[in-house]
């Protein structure tokens, strides 16, 4: 193989990587961030984005993590299961509230079950936020949800 031909192949592979990154980048970053795949490490385009988001999401600074959650939403790479887990791990109220808001914006199919599961373990502000989400996204399930969790009727009617 001549030196020139090898050079062309390297350029070709690099271009293919960039193209794959554009097409599959967000998906691969989402998979890597949630820990279900590490393939994006091998693709040029998502690597930087992964690095930035990863640093935010795994930072010890709660505000950094909080902006990390927003970035997930901005890039439309929200992984519901990852956020469900994070909701349980996070201790500060601001992070929990932002996670709930992102999940509500995302409107994933398991969200209702998640709310049902964590409602009793959450504090009043979070409970109120959950009731508003159920009211908005699952109005047909609101009555049964309210009954099961003994929701204050005022929350349903005033918020």
């Amino acid at each position: 193989m001549t030196y020139r031909r090898r050079e062309l192949i390297i350029v070709f592979i690099f271009c293919i990587n960039i193209c794959i990154g554009f097409v599959l980048g967000k998906f691969l970053v989402a998979k890597t961030v949630s820990g279900s795949s590490a393939i994006s490490f091998f693709i040029a385009r998502p690597l930087y984005a992964y690095h930035v988001i990863n640093n935010k999401l795994y930072s010890s600074d709660p505000v950094e993590r909080l902006t990390g959650y927003c970035t997930l939403y901005d890039l439309r790479i929200v992984d519901d299961a990852f956020l469900y887990e994070r909701y349980k791990q996070e201790e500060n109220i601001a992070s929990k509230r932002i996670i709930l808001q992102i999940l509500a914006l995302q409107g994933g199919k398991d969200l209702f079950h998640f709310l049902d599961e964590v409602f009793e373990l959450s504090d009043t502000s979070l409970k109120k936020q959950m009731v508003t989400i159920v009211k908005q996204l699952y109005p047909h399930k609101l009555d049964s949800f309210a009954q099961k969790h003994k929701v204050d009727a005022q929350w349903i009617h005033t918020e």
Binding site: E91, N92, I93
Partner: protein
Amino acid sequence: MKQIRICEAHLKVGLFGGTFNPIHIGHLINAQFIREEFNLDFIVFIPTKYPVHKELEDNVEAKHRYQMVKLAIEGVEYFKVSRLEIDREKPSYTIYTVEEILQKNPNWELFFIIGYDAFNEINTWKEWKRLLMTIDFIIMKRPGDVLHRRFDKYMSRIHCANNPVIDVSSSVIRDRIRSGKSIRYLLPENVEQYIYKHRLYQGER
């Protein structure tokens, strides 16, 4: 996760931003009602240095507006005033203020208090979607006011206050001062004295 900070107890804190040019009884009464309605531990008044979205009438320096707020809330333990935006070199974008406050106080639950008109234009603010995800908004509405539908998705973070409608505004106060009319009862007495002592709002427009 490398390390998760544990903050068991949290405080519910209202952020009341504005030019406060000058602060008046409408601001104070609404703040009082909202604090009670939403069980806020305290409210922080945050005078802006230069408003990003509107012209600052009479060009009253931030130090005067800050001082007037300080006088107005004197002796009220659950009202505080912050120099955060006044001391910032960059423009007063709310998202910076909120993130700065959360950085220092990660266990605070923040509620941004805002008028209905301003809220309906929030989509012109810097990183407004991020802001709506990050904190709660308490909106001071008047009867008949309707929120724009673009905010429907964020309703779990938006709360409407049952505040009294007080038809006093800073612009009315400025106009009354300019035309030599009394401003008694429209703002706290010590603020009134401060305005006259420093000859604020008395020049031509």
